[in-house]
């Protein structure tokens, strides 16, 4: 009985992690698009992005810990931390480990963003565009519920949401009306200082 509770928790937490992570990615893109309205201030996008990201990590931890602790899977901690070291479904679990470690790096660097500086933080934050699809593939490849109707609906909604956000990000011009002017000004200042 307790074993099956662990196993169900692993599966449930995995699905919740996908939903939350997709929301976090969409919110992150919305914030670069400077989406706002009278009832949706910009700090709400940023605040939700941050808090849901932290919550994602909680469910991801639950997903990993319950999978490892479950005696039936017999994974061991190494399989959860070293990519492609698991005997069980080596490739698909490895993708999960990579996605987890990328997300951990993204969250930790965000927590110390002030000390790290904007440029380095941003470079690492771009890894999200790798972490999300790798995590999604991990779920598609090894998810017990992947092909059930409800999980297919969840996955489709997540892919559609993130896909639409990326589409808007790529097609809408810069959200910043002064971007060109500022770039020119900065390069002029750089030339003077050089």
């Amino acid at each position: 009985m307790s074993n099956s509770v662990l196993w169900y928790t692993t599966r449930g937490a995995g699905a919740v992690t996908l939903i939350l992570l997709s929301c976090v990615v969409v919110l992150g893109i919305l914030s670069t698009l400077r989406v706002q309205s009278a009832s949706w201030p910009r700090f709400l996008t940023t605040g939700l992005h941050r808090n849901l990201a932290l919550m994602t990590l909680v469910f991801l931890a639950l997903h990993i810990v319950t999978a490892v602790v479950d005696p039936f899977t017999n994974l061991g901690w190494a399989a959860a931390l070293i990519p492609f070291s698991s005997v069980y479904r080596t490739f698909w679990l490895g993708l999960g480990v990579i996605s987890f470690e990328l997300l951990a790096a993204i969250v930790v660097t965000s927590l110390v963003r002030g000390a790290l500086g904007h440029r380095a933080w941003r470079a690492i934050h771009w890894l999200t565009y790798a972490a999300w699809p790798v995590g999604l593939l991990h779920g598609l490849g090894t998810g017990t519920d992947t092909w059930s109707a409800w999980m297919l609906a969840i996955t489709a909604a997540c892919v559609a949401g993130v896909g639409m956000a990326i589409f808007f990000r790529l097609t809408s011009g810069s959200a910043d009306p002064l971007a060109a002017a500022r770039t020119m000004f900065r390069s002029a200042v750089d030339r003077r200082e050089a």
Binding site: R34, R42, F43, T46, G117, H118, D176, P177, L178, R182
Partner: protein
Amino acid sequence: MSKQFELSVDRMTCDGRGLCAELLPELIRLDDWGYPILTPGPIPEHLIPLAQRAVEDCPVLAIAMRRTQHKK
């Protein structure tokens, strides 16, 4: 002498995203192009937590809160 805090904006870094003015309208308003105009002087004590949040939430880390010495 007492320790006080003041806000400053790095104009070269600022992208005019405007979160700071939403979080701390008491001290920050935006010009016509969306760039912040700060109220000069020390931050009133009750606004320090909000100022902290404005500093932390700036998408490009353009705002800083600095400790200054003021004669009483």
